[in-house]
């Protein structure tokens, strides 16, 4: 692997602001461009927290360690700056913005990336949006609906993938994107992620998941197991298979010991 890491997480510890106990307790992780990593772990292991801390969620404060994107300190940046630097998080629970269409939302997000005084060309945007929706095999009418307002679980996740397709991040953090999806919706979402990976082989993906099943559709290069705020094991896709078979019991024992 000749490439230097896109994302470097070193000794990261973090907690919910104003609380006493760290949820992340020294996480080390390096993702190179083009790699797909999966993080698995039981409830409360800190895997979602890791994604949110990298994206800059205001609920959390870091208590140690560092997070860098292409060597730049992410922890010093506001969430919007991180987004503009190339970080994208697909939310586990996407938020509704009543009265704002997906198209308008994305236009505003792209406009925010331009210099002051520069105006996004509406026709260019329309073209881009249509092209992206075609790539993901989406009905163009979808873009006219208000963001996540009255959406089914599957629609919310598809909207996240559409946003990712339009914003073209360097690093996609997928926070339990598979949770609550039936198998058809899961396939659609996985298919979308794969199309984007094919299109941009440099894009790195960090998949946070409970279940092995999404990894049948989005094949990871590396699988990490997270337990009690630390990465306790890393390996190839076989790690996920083994986990599925034997569960987290041995980590629990090791932790107690």
């Amino acid at each position: 692997m000749g490439k230097s890491p896109l994302l470097s997480v070193t000794g990261l510890s973090a907690r919910v602001a104003d609380e006493e106990i760290d949820i992340l307790r020294g996480v080390d992780l390096a993702i190179r461009p083009g790699e797909t990593h999966a993080i698995m772990g039981p409830n409360g292991s800190g895997k979602s927290t890791l994604a949110k801390v990298v994206a800059g969620h205001p609920t959390y404060e870091t208590t140690g360690g560092s997070v860098a994107l292409r060597g730049e300190d992410l922890l010093e940046m506001e969430p919007d700056e991180r987004s503009q630097a190339g970080v994208f998080m697909a939310f586990q629970y996407p938020i509704a913005i009543p009265g704002v269409s997906i198209a308008n939302f994305l236009r505003t997000a792209l406009q925010a990336r331009l210099e002051d005084g520069e105006e996004l060309d509406l026709f260019d945007f329309q073209e881009l949006l249509m092209e992206r929706m075609e790539l993901l095999e989406m009905d163009p009418a979808f873009a006219q609906r208000p963001v996540n307002d009255g959406f089914s679980g599957g629609e919310k996740k598809r909207n996240e993938i559409l946003q990712m397709a339009v914003l073209k991040p360097a690093l996609a953090l997928m926070d339990e994107t598979d949770s609550g999806l039936d198998i058809d919706a899961l396939r659609v979402v996985a298919h979308g992620v794969n199309r984007l990976r094919e299109e941009n082989p440099e894009m790195a993906v960090l998949l946070i998941t409970h279940y092995q099943r999404i990894l049948n559709h989005v094949i990871p290069d590396v699988v990490h197991v997270m337990y009690r705020g630390r990465i306790v094991e890393s390996g190839g896709p076989e790690v996920a298979m083994e986990l599925e078979a034997r569960g987290y019991e041995e980590y629990r024992k090791a932790h107690v010991a």
């Binding site: 994206a55 919007d80 987004s83 970080v87 939310f91 704002v100 939302f105």
Partner: protein
């Protein structure tokens, strides 16, 4: 005008400035109000005797009525009134030069994207401008159809019978203290008459004629939409009104005759020292349809409740209102629907945004009289709070004297939450852009009803306001 008049506040929190003019008045009454001043106003306007009598009678009513104790805080208003010049001859307002307008205001206009010509009007600079041409060609078209679109003064002068038949019939002087005050000292405003069956595609826009006579502090507008006619009237604009006044009390009377459709749109953004107390009401006859689209921004206190009196069978009234209360501002707004006849229907949709220490109150009345069978009314009021210090209240009054009435009321309060902000920021918008997008979405159901240029201005204004809400 005093030799040095400091003009304060644009209504935008970020723009504090002082501005000095030295212009001398052509004519104005002395501060305060009495019968002699009312006589002077009437004489200046060369009015018929009946109008002078009406004014004097209204003055007595005004003096007799106590200051309202409900709504907003009016405890300091009397002091303002004692210092108010109740009549200032409009021409003096036209003498200000564009060069005298402070850069900060020009910059605000620039950022709002207001056309050059319109900026001058807003700044009180009386200049001829391009839309004059547009106005003249429209005016010819309207005149050919028998439409009257005049200043209220010219309405009284040129159409005395029509004027007298309707003036004060929708809102009598005795209606409330400020309607009485307006009836005594009114000056400026529009007189509109749409003949039966006439349909206008282009809205009648008040600013077409603002440069002929400046919109007064005590504007009075009378509109008669003839049987089966259809028209839209637009007044005001989202840009901050640059004014030396600190009190505005208008009266808008509209008669919507049988089977007519009339929409009245007003968006106003007053400077933040302003008391804005307005009475606007429509009488809606059989089968007719009235729509109020009302936007209130700025001011210290606004009390304004557009009303529809549904007088004839099958009449319909809609009230859409947006209020924005910034720091230190109180918007006490809403609407009134009065069902007098059978099979009448109405809806009120009210949206308010409170930012900083701003306070918005929804105050509404739905009344159904005995005999107004099968009346239907639906009220929806939604409040959005931007900061922890922002406040909102709801005062829905419902009086039903008819068993068959069907009344719905729904109220929601939402706060801009951390999760919502984070979601938007994680897509690359900064906090102000994120706030502005949330607010725009919130008012979208009403904003989409606005003419495009007004919707664009409103959106830009919200962006400016949200810049001030962060940090």
């Amino acid at each position: 005008m005093p030799s040095n008049e400091v003009i304060q506040g644009l209504g935008l929190d970020d723009y504090k400035f002082g501005f000095v003019t030295d212009s001398e008045p052509v004519f104005r009454t002395r501060p305060g109000l009495d019968a002699d001043i009312v006589r002077q106003i009437s004489a200046r306007k060369d009015e018929p005797e009946w109008m002078l009598k009406r004014r004097l009678k209204a003055l007595k009513i005004y003096e007799a009525k106590p200051m309202p104790k409900w709504g907003g805080d009016l405890s300091e208003l009397q002091e303002t009134l004692d210092q108010t010049y109740f009549y200032v001859k409009p021409q003096e307002q036209m003498e200000r030069s564009w060069d005298d307008v402070p850069d900060s205001i020009k910059e605000t206009f620039e950022r709002l994207g207001i056309p050059e010509a319109e900026r001058k009007i807003l700044a009180g600079v009386g200049a001829q401008y391009d839309s004059e041409m547009v106005y003249h060609s429209l005016k010819e078209e309207w005149e050919a159809k028998g439409v009257i679109f005049d200043s209220i003064e010219d309405g009284l002068k040129n159409h005395p019978e029509l004027f007298r038949k309707h003036f004060g019939t929708v809102i009598p002087a005795a209606d409330n203290k400020f309607a009485a005050l307006n009836s005594a000292v009114w000056s400026g405003g529009s007189f509109v008459y749409i003949p039966p069956g006439v349909r206008l595609d282009t809205p009648l826009q008040a600013y077409f004629r603002v440069n002929q006579e400046r919109l007064g502090q005590f504007e009075r507008t009378l509109i008669i939409a003839g049987e089966g006619s259809r028209a839209h009237y637009i007044e005001g604009c989202t840009a901050p009104v640059y004014s030396t006044d600190s009190f505005h009390s208008g009266v808008i009377e509209i008669v919507v005759e049988r089977d007519a459709y009339f929409r009245y749109t007003t968006i106003q953004n007053w400077s933040n020292n302003m008391y804005n107390l307005v009475t606007q009401r429509a009488l809606v006859r059989q089968g007719a349809h009235m729509e109020w689209l009302d936007g209130n921004l700025g001011s210290k206190l606004t009390m304004k409740y557009p009303s529809c009196y549904l007088m004839g069978e099958g009449a319909h009234g809609d009230i859409l209102s947006i209020a924005y209360a910034g720091d230190g501002q109180h918007q006490d707004t809403g609407g009134k629907v009065i069902h007098v006849a059978p099979n009448t229907s109405s809806s009120i949709v009210s949206k308010s945004i409170s930012k900083g220490t701003g306070r918005s109150s929804y105050r509404g009345l739905c009344k159904v009289y005995d005999g107004a069978t099968n009346a239907k009314s639906n009220v929806e009021c939604d409040a959005l709070l931007i900061n922890e210090t922002s406040r909102t209240d709801t005062f829905p009054y419902i009086e039903i004297d008819e068993r068959s009435a069907s009344i719905g009321h729904e109220a929601t309060v939402s706060k801009v939450g951390d999760e919502q902000l984070f979601y938007l920021m994680s897509r690359g918008m900064d906090e102000a852009e994120a706030m502005a997008l949330i607010v725009r979405g919130f008012i979208e159901p009403i904003a989409k009803e606005l003419p495009l240029e007004y919707a664009v201005e409103l959106n830009r204004l919200i962006e400016l306001e949200m810049e001030g809400s962060v940090g």
